[in-house]
């Protein structure tokens, strides 16, 4: 397996596809969510303090993302069992994907792997319904970037293609099975 890092995909570029474990038993393929905007949230690690704040905030804002027909996905190099324990304790209600084996492969494909730490950057990608990157933001590792930038980017996408919120769940369920 090649473990070279790619550059961060530009706005307008196709978002690199991947398949990652969402639970110990189930995987999720990014391209199966085509037709919905997707927010990819790369974060360094489960249980670390700033990540906790960041995911806690996104978890609270989840209804806003759902209203915009959007699927929110967390990604870190932690394993699926770790994600499960973390999501349970923090009541995280969106999927956390395990970029675990080969470690950081997806982070590398998005140009946000931190080789010196063995984790990813704290990075946000907003991907439109056609699978193109529409917005990206790499935050300082110690800074919680909040949700405003994501919402602004999503509103610009959704203004062009209105989406039915009720369909989101069905779509995600289909992708997740």
């Amino acid at each position: 397996m090649l473990l070279l890092s790619s550059p961060v995909p530009n706005v307008g570029a196709s978002a690199p596809d991947f398949e990652l474990r969402m639970t110990p038993q189930r995987s999720l393929r990014l391209s199966s969510l085509r037709g919905r905007p997707v927010v990819l949230v790369f974060y360094p690690a489960d249980w670390s303090p700033v990540c906790g704040d960041q995911l806690t905030l996104l978890n609270e804002v989840l209804p806003e993302f759902e209203q915009l027909g959007t699927v929110l996905l967390g990604v870190s190099v932690d394993g699926a069992w770790c994600h499960g324990a973390y999501a349970g304790e923090r009541r995280i209600r969106f999927p956390l994907l395990a970029d675990f084996e080969p470690k950081g492969e997806v982070a590398r494909a998005y140009g946000v792997f931190r080789a010196e730490d063995g984790t990813s950057e704290r990075a946000l990608f907003v991907i439109d319904a056609a699978g193109e990157v529409r917005w990206r933001h790499v935050a300082p590792v110690n800074e919680n970037p909040g949700a405003d930038g994501i919402l602004t980017a999503l509103e610009q996408i959704v203004a062009r293609i209105p989406l039915m919120p009720a369909e989101t769940d069905r779509h995600v369920r289909e992708a997740i099975v």
Binding site: D53, T56, R91, P145
Partner: protein, 191 residues
């Protein structure tokens, strides 16, 4: 980041609109950091007097703080039925009692704090059951997200997010003092 919903008459505020400094706090009644910030804000009010206006907006992180949402709704309930003065006394009570016990923000305690500030506890119970003030709390929350609030407490000093230290009263006072000077200068300039 700048405060997106500007301070209006809908906001809970202590102080006058033309105060030199307006300090907006986005807070969560179950957040221990907010409870620590509470006496610091009080200290700023003591030091700055009429030159400081304090505004509180709700930012409950309800998934990690199971009592936070009801606490925020109860405070709004007290504001509606008891007025702004009662709201601020309720606000103080919530932060001051936060750490008393693991259930110090449970519904029956919220009703008791409301009683203590002169609002019928039964109204609190009824309004919580009907979610009568939930929209108001959510509106605060949404405005906070759009203003770049990323955790609690988040402070805005004259409309700009303040990311520095607030735990040290001397330092926080110097930050507010600078904001007051700048504002004072721009007001002089306008004349």
């Amino acid at each position: 980041m700048s405060l997106t919903p500007l301070v209006t008459s809908r906001d809970h505020q202590l102080g006058v609109a033309d105060a030199l400094v307006t300090l907006v706090e986005y807070g969560d009644y179950e957040c221990p950091h907010c409870a620590r910030a509470h006496p610091v804000v009080k200290e700023m009010q003591r030091r700055f007097g009429e030159h400081l206006r304090v505004v509180f907006r709700n930012f409950p992180l309800a998934q990690v703080h199971p009592f936070a949402l009801h606490a925020a709704e109860a405070a709004e309930c007290v504001a509606v039925h008891g007025g702004e003065d009662a709201f601020w006394r309720m606000h103080d009570a919530l932060f001051e009692h936060q750490q008393d016990s693991p259930t110090s923000l449970a519904d029956e305690r919220l009703a008791a704090y409301a009683e203590a500030v002169g609002v019928d506890g039964a109204l609190v119970v009824r309004d919580l059951a009907n979610q009568a003030h939930l929209d108001r709390v959510r509106e605060d929350f949404r405005g906070g997200v759009r203003s770049g609030v990323n955790g609690t407490p988040s402070f805005f000093v004259n409309g700009e997010r303040y990311d520095g230290d607030w735990t040290d009263a001397e330092h926080f006072a110097s930050v507010l003092g600078r904001a007051a000077k700048e504002r004072g200068r721009s007001m002089t300039g306008m004349r």
